[in-house]
Structure formats: structure tokens, C-alpha cells
């Protein structure tokens, strides 16, 4: 390896070396953070719901008043289940990717004076678990006598189910079964843990903080219906359901933004996230392109400047490969220096983002990825100028510049 002479030569071009290294450092800082943001968003849009998205249709009604609700809930449940290809129907208070309906602060320690933690409380009737396709990992489902009428926004019940991931956060290392959850003037106890139940509005850093409580359809719970349908029939069932409601229930209003096949609600929910991810990918692409252009420009300039030296080296026995390697190693060293500084800068930028926008700190494993991308980019960009350098004939040494 000829690292020592390369470093010696770079000392002659301190400013240019410094500029490329700085450019790489900045690019590294921006790249790592942008990559992290994109990956987080993509990961969110693939969030696992714990329910069978492609088999579910949500029907949400707006402005159902209490007097109407008492018999609307059971009646509509009946009518919706008679639609062909509907396997089961659940009445609930909310649906994944719909508006949240039961967000509340709660305590897990009866002696705690304040409600420190917030979660979403799903309300569901007896058909809820089966319709959604929830999976129980421990404990039991609700028994028939546990379903209670809704008072305020929660049922007057005493048992609830919790998401497994959330349970492990609330009670780390403990068995969640039997643990109390105190909300308003009610005390619930965990009777079962489901594998997963996503909250209605998952965000990158809160996706599973949800409970399920047993409620009876009627007053306080007659606005949201979930239909489990035969495969590939979601669109068809949704069309029939809306037609039925328009025909048979002229007094209720369909909430169009929160109704439809669950896969559609999911797409609509993530539309914004997706466009931000795409924008970020565009910025990353522009960033890499600009960095590459910079490297190509400066490397070409150097090759031009050193034509005579290259000729001399060739004349005294260096092969084309030696010259090619020289420029490649030089680029590798400069980019490497930039990356080292860039890693520090990446954390500085991440800390700023964390302070301003409450984003979590950049995980360390993004750094090697960022470094690898920039090293590859550097090698790719320098290839053209380095090959031109390798093509310089030895005879140049004898000419005056």
C-alpha cells in the first residue's frame, strides 16, 4: 500500500482535501438522519395491526344520539350480518385507522395521585375478538356476563384485555394477568393478553398502547361497526352495506372518511407518511448526486493538475493499475476522514432534531450504513477521473506543462 506518499501529497492540497472531507461529513450527517426518518416512516406504514386487515370492513356513523342508539346498535348489527359474504359483525367504539374514541389517562398503581399514562380504550361487543381475528397469548377471553352497558365513554365492566407489547412495557418482567387499570372511577383487571391490537392512530413511537373492554351495543356504542367478510369481498360488501343503510336507515349519516374496507382506511391513514418518505428519498437522492458531482469535479481537477507527475511515475515504472489505485485509495482516505467527522455531526444533528421535534436519538447502526453508502459513492465517482489518470501516457513526463 502506498498510503504514506498519498498523505504527503494531500498535504499540498490541504484546502481542497478539507473541502471534500467536509462535504462528505455534512452529507454523512444528513444522510444518516434522513435514512433513519425514511426507514421509521416506512416501518410505520407497514405496522402490524394484529387484526385481519384484508378481511375487514368498517362502517362508521356520524351524529348518532343516545335516544337513537339504544336500539340502532342491535338492529344494525342484525341487518349488517344478513348481507351476503359477511361472516360476523362487531359493534365497537373505534376501528384501526379511524378516529380515536376512547383515549384516556389511567393509573396502574391505586396510590398514584395522578393519571400518568395514556392509552386508547377499545370498546367491543361479544363479536369483537372473533370478527377482528385477534389472537390470545395468555389468560382468557371475556365471558358472556362481563359485557356491560356504556356509561360515559367506558363500559361499567371490571375486566379488560391488553396488547402484549404494551403489557410488557407497563409491567416489565411481570405477569400482567390480574393487574389493575384505574381509569375515571372504574377499576379494571387484566384478564387476557392479545398478541397485538394496534391503536386507531399508530405513530412511530406509540402504536400499541391499547386496551379492549367488554361493552354492550346500544347507548354510547352504536356508531362503529366492523364486518368480517369472505376473502376478496370487502369492496362488494361495503357497497351493499352503504346501500342498505341509505335505504333502511334514512336518519343516520355515514361518516365517509372513517368507513370502507380496512385496507383502504389504512392507505388513507398513511398517505401523508408515505408522501413525506418519498420527499425524503428525493432529498437523499439529490444529496448523493450533488456529493458525487463534487467528487467528480475536484478529482478531475486534480488529475489535470498532476498530469506531469503521473507521466513521470508511469515513465519510471508505475503501471496503469498503480495510478488507478492511487486515486482510488486517495478518495477512500478523504471520504473516510469525512465520515469520521460526519458521524459526530450526525449525532449533533440528531440531538437538534430530538430537542426541537422530540424525535428519538439516531440508532448507532445507521452509521455503518451511511459510511458504506458514501464510500461506495466516492469510489464510483472517482472511477472516471482515475481511469483518465491511468490513461495518461508516460511520454507526458518529457513535455513541459
Amino acid at each position: 500500500m502506498q498510503i504514506a506518499p498519498i498523505l504527503a501529497a494531500l498535504k499540498k492540497h490541504r484546502m481542497a482535501t478539507f473541502l471534500i472531507a467536509m462535504e462528505i461529513a455534512l452529507a454523512c450527517a444528513v444522510l444518516c438522519n434522513a435514512l433513519y426518518l425514511v426507514v421509521e416512516r416506512v416501518r410505520l406504514s407497514h405496522v402490524e395491526t394484529g387484526v385481519d386487515d384484508d378481511r375487514l370492513v368498517a362502517i362508521s356513523l356520524a351524529g348518532v344520539d343516545d335516544a337513537q342508539a339504544v336500539d340502532l346498535g342491535p338492529r344494525l348489527r342484525q341487518k349488517l350480518s344478513s348481507i351476503p359474504n359477511v361472516e360476523s359483525v362487531a359493534v365497537a367504539n373505534a376501528t384501526p385507522f379511524g378516529p380515536q374514541a376512547g383515549e384516556a389517562g389511567f393509573r396502574i398503581d391505586p396510590n398514584d395521585p395522578v393519571y400518568r399514562i395514556q392509552a386508547h380504550f377499545y370498546l367491543g361487543d361479544a363479536g369483537f375478538a372473533k370478527t377482528l381475528g385477534l389472537r390470545l397469548v395468555s389468560g382468557r377471553w371475556f365471558t358472556a356476563d362481563e359485557y356491560a352497558p356504556v356509561d360515559g365513554f367506558l363500559p361499567k365492566a371490571s375486566s379488560l384485555l391488553v396488547d402484549a407489547d404494551y403489557a410488557s412495557k407497563l409491567w416489565p418482567g411481570q405477569n400482567p394477568l390480574g393487574k389493575p387499570v384505574l381509569v375515571t372511577n372504574l377499576t379494571f383487571r387484566v384478564v387476557g393478553v392479545v398478541a397485538r391490537m394496534v391503536r386507531p392512530n399508530p405513530s412511530p413511537f406509540a402504536a400499541t398502547n391499547s386496551f379492549i373492554t367488554p361493552a354492550l351495543a346500544g347507548k354510547g356504542m352504536a356508531s362503529v361497526y366492523l364486518l368480517r367478510v369472505a376473502p376478496e369481498k370487502a369492496q362488494d360488501v361495503f357497497a351493499r352495506a352503504t346501500a342498505m343503510i341509505t335505504r333502511d336507515e334514512p336518519s343516520v349519516i355515514l361518516d365517509a372518511t372513517a368507513s370502507g374496507p380496512l385496507t383502504q382506511l389504512r392507505d388513507a391513514y398513511f398517505a401523508n407518511t408515505r408522501s413525506m418518505a418519498i420527499m425524503m428519498v428525493g432529498v437523499i437522492a439529490a444529496l448523493l448526486l450533488v456529493s458525487a458531482l463534487g467528487i467528480v469535479g475536484l478529482a478531475s481537477f486534480w488529475v489535470q493538475q498532476r498530469r506531469q507527475q503521473i507521466g513521470i511515475r508511469r515513465a519510471i515504472g508505475a503501471t496503469r493499475r498503480d495510478i488507478l489505485h492511487y486515486f482510488q485509495i486517495e478518495n477512500f482516505l478523504i471520504v473516510g476522514g469525512g465520515i469520521v467527522v460526519g458521524m459526530v455531526l450526525a449525532y449533533v444533528l440528531s440531538a437538534v432534531l430530538m430537542k426541537l421535534y422530540e424525535l428519538p436519538l439516531l440508532p448507532a447502526y445507521y452509521l455503518p450504513y451511511g459510511a458504506l453508502i458514501l464510500w461506495l459513492l466516492g469510489q464510483l465517482a472517482v472511477l472516471g477521473p482515475a481511469r483518465r489518470a491511468a490513461a495518461v501516457p508516460p511520454v507526458v513526463a518529457t513535455r513541459n506543462a
Partner: protein, 437 residues
């Protein structure tokens, strides 16, 4: 002299098309990506009422106290209780003030046979309309007297007017909301601010309001609040009347204060009011009020999705990378011309003249890069419009100000980036260069 430098710059750029092309492309990409991101950011966080946003204020009162449930900071609630909303508007300390809450009444269809549908709206007081400068195409806002008399009147949007009355002057006619008749006194002329700045605590983007009812009338009619509703304690009474006496935050308030002195006085009055409430035994904590003006309020409520702010920051990072890149390339370009500089210096050009010459060259580069950057921005925005949700996409558009901003940004960034290479160019000593050539 400028013309000569311009000519020199153009010649120099033509002489080395590859390097020039690289620089122009790099500037164009950097500026294009930054401006595309900025345009989206501007679309989601734009000031909806720039001419008076700094004079509109949102008073907040701490209804829950410092030890309340589910409070993560010491910020008071976004909305106020009915009791406080009445106290604030009755005191009439501001130029204009209005309490308001979100309603969504169902409206009887224009033609028999079709179904009733839900419309979005707000219950507001008469001062709301002059305060937000709402434009009217027909009629006018209801009067203070009609407010006081709890009149059954309504102001509707031009969109609803088109749907219900085929765009005719509908003032004096009736609409049926939740089964009750209201007389239309005014039709708004495309009043669809984005974000919905007067009530961002409840809604910001999406459906604009179609109906406005007098606040007192809506309370009489027990029009359901469709916005947020947060309580310190459970209401003592059930039902709608319970919400009026409860310590629950659900009413948005906006006031117009025309000077800093007015704002200071208002703040004092607000603290005085809550102190009075504490002395009366209602609150057990010291006054914890806020009075933010609209820009500060929109920022506090993070109306712009934090994602866009972050991507703006990332795009700014890209611009900096671009500038560093341009410094490097310009350095290469200028240093290559040491000979030329030496000749010019030997023939009597001062350092300053060399500096001006190279600054002009940098500006020409920046301008060219900027022109291409405008094209890039246009491409970027077209692409973004395809992926953005419709309501935001409609706001992200190329206009004169964005165009000139893109060009200015490109020229400025390039000239700033050119400072160091230009300085280096002025260091060239004439004798040395002449000798070696």
C-alpha cells in the same frame, strides 16, 4: 466595467463546459430539492391571514391546575370552559373577541327525496366575522343585537350556497339545521383558510366550514359540540346543560388586540380574572395563563406536521452540502486560471477588480444554476403533487414569489460560496505566474 466582467465570466464558463456543467448541475439539484421541500413546508404552515395574524391572540386559562390528570407539562388547556368563555367575551376588553365551538348539524336537502347530510360549522359571535376579515358575496354578518337576541340566523359558505340554492342570493331564505329553521343573513365568498386558523385546537386541514350560527343560539338549541372536550372533573350534571356548568375545556376563544400595549393590558386583565376566580375559591392554583398571537399559536400547536419541518431541516442540510461542494469546484476553476490572473494583475488590475470579476462569475454561475434549479423545483413539485394528500397538494404550487426566491437563493448561495475561492484568486502574485509561463 460590469459588462466586461460579465463577458469574461461567460467566456470562462464556456471554456470549460464539463466543470461548468458539474457546478451548475450541483447548484440546481441543491436549490431544487431545498425549494421543493420548502414549498411543501410553506403549504402546510403558511400564514393564513398574514395581514393581521400578529394582532390575533388566543387566550388560554389553566382549568385543570398543576397536579391534574394526564398533564405532561404546565401548559394550560387549548380551549376554555363555557363559564370562562362567557366571562372573556362579556368583559369585552379586546377590539374584537369571539367564543366559538365546533358543530356539525345535519342539513335538510335542497330537493325532496335526497338524504339529510352533515355539514361542518362553528357557533361564533358576531365579532368573529370582522375579526377574521371574512369576505361576503351576499348579505353580511349578523348584528350585535341579533347576537344578544339569540336570533335564529345563519351565515353559510358559498359552497353550501351553490349546493342548496344554485349560487343565487339566498339571504332572507331559510335552511333547516337539525330540524330547526334558520334565516340566512350572509353568504361567504370562498372563505376557506388553510389551516383553519381560528380553531386549530380542533381541526386544521380538511373540510372547510359550511355554516356559522350565533353562539348563544347554538347553545339554546343544544347543538352538540363536535370538537374536543376535556374535563378536570366529571360534570356534576348529565347532558348538554351539564357541559355548561362543568369545569371542562371545549370552547375556543380568539381576540384581536391592535398594539403591544393592548396585549400587555389584556394579559394583566386575564391574570386579574383568574386571580379573582382563585379568591372566589374556584381555582386553588396561581394564575397560569397564556396569550399567544396567531403565528406563535400555530407554531405551538405544531400545525405544520413535524415531518415537514424535519424534512425542511434536512433539505437545508442539503443546501449547505451543495455550497461546500460549490466552494471546492470554484476553487478548482479559479486556481486553474492563475496565469490569467497574473497577467491581469501585471497589467494593472487591482485586487479589488479581480475580486469583483470573480464575484460576477460566481453570480453568473449561481443564476444559471438557479434557472435550472427552477426547472428542478417544478419537476420536484409536480412529483410531490402526485404523492401528497389533495388538500395539501392544492396549496403547494409554483408562483412568482417561489420562483424569484429560488433564483435569489441560488445566486446568493453561490456568491457566498465563491467568497473563499475569490479571496484565493486575489492572492495570486503577478510575477510568479508570469515567470512560470
Amino acid at each position: 466595467m460590469f459588462g466586461y466582467y460579465l463577458d469574461l465570466a461567460l467566456r470562462s464558463l464556456r471554456r470549460n463546459p464539463a466543470l461548468t456543467g458539474l457546478m451548475v448541475l450541483a447548484i440546481a439539484f441543491g436549490v431544487g430539492a431545498s425549494m421543493t421541500t420548502y414549498s411543501v413546508f410553506r403549504a402546510v404552515s403558511g400564514d393564513p391571514i398574514p395581514w393581521k395574524s400578529s394582532r390575533l391572540f388566543v387566550p388560554q386559562i389553566d382549568l385543570f391546575g398543576p397536579t391534574a390528570a394526564a398533564k405532561t407539562s404546565n401548559e394550560p388547556q387549548d380551549l376554555v370552559s363555557y363559564k370562562d368563555a362567557l366571562a372573556i367575551t362579556r368583559a369585552h376588553r379586546a377590539h374584537f373577541q369571539s367564543a366559538m365551538y365546533n358543530i356539525a348539524p345535519s342539513i335538510d336537502p335542497a330537493s325532496p327525496g335526497s338524504r339529510p347530510r352533515e355539514v361542518m360549522g362553528h357557533a361564533v359571535q358576531w365579532e368573529f366575522f370582522p375579526m377574521v376579515d371574512a369576505p361576503f358575496v351576499y348579505g353580511h354578518a349578523w348584528s350585535a343585537d341579533e347576537d344578544a337576541a339569540h336570533a335564529k340566523v345563519a351565515v353559510i359558505s358559498s359552497r353550501l350556497n351553490d349546493r342548496q340554492f344554485k349560487g343565487e342570493d339566498s339571504t332572507g331564505r331559510e335552511i333547516i339545521l337539525d330540524g330547526k329553521p334558520y334565516r340566512i343573513v350572509g353568504v361567504l365568498d370562498h372563505f376557506t383558510p388553510e389551516p383553519l386558523f381560528y380553531d386549530v385546537a380542533n381541526r386544521n386541514f380538511g373540510e372547510p366550514d359550511d355554516v356559522f350560527l350565533p353562539f348563544a343560539t347554538a347553545i339554546d338549541a343544544q347543538s352538540t359540540n363536535t370538537g374536543n372536550y376535556n374535563c378536570a372533573r366529571s360534570p356534576l350534571e348529565e347532558g348538554f346543560s351539564g357541559t355548561l356548568t362543568a369545569e371542562c375545556a371545549w370552547i375556543a376563544v380568539m381576540v384581536q388586540l391592535d398594539s403591544t400595549a393592548d396585549a400587555t393590558a389584556y394579559r394583566q386583565w386575564l391574570d386579574g380574572y383568574t386571580d379573582g376566580q382563585r379568591q372566589a375559591g374556584r381555582f386553588s392554583w396561581a394564575s397560569n395563563n397564556r396569550l399567544r398571537n396567531l403565528p406563535a399559536w400555530l407554531d405551538f400547536k405544531q400545525v405544520a406536521p413535524p415531518d415537514t419541518k424535519v424534512s425542511l431541516l434536512v433539505a437545508l442540510g442539503l443546501l449547505v452540502v451543495c455550497m461546500v461542494n460549490t466552494i471546492g469546484l470554484m476553487l478548482a476553476k479559479f486556481m486553474r486560471r492563475s496565469g490569467e490572473i497574473g497577467v491581469r494583475r501585471a497589467l494593472g488590475a487591482s485586487r479589488l477588480q479581480i475580486a469583483v470579476q470573480f464575484t460576477v462569475e460566481a453570480a453568473v454561475l449561481g443564476f444559471t444554476g438557479g434557472l435550472l434549479g427552477v426547472a428542478m423545483t417544478w419537476i420536484g413539485m409536480t412529483a410531490m403533487r402526485a404523492v401528497l394528500p389533495e388538500d395539501i397538494a392544492a396549496l403547494a404550487r409554483m408562483d412568482g414569489s417561489l420562483l424569484s426566491l429560488t433564483l435569489c437563493m441560488a445566486v446568493l448561495a453561490t456568491v457566498v460560496a465563491g467568497l473563499y475561492p475569490t479571496l484565493r484568486a486575489t492572492w495570486v502574485r503577478p510575477a510568479l505566474q508570469l515567470k512560470s509561463n
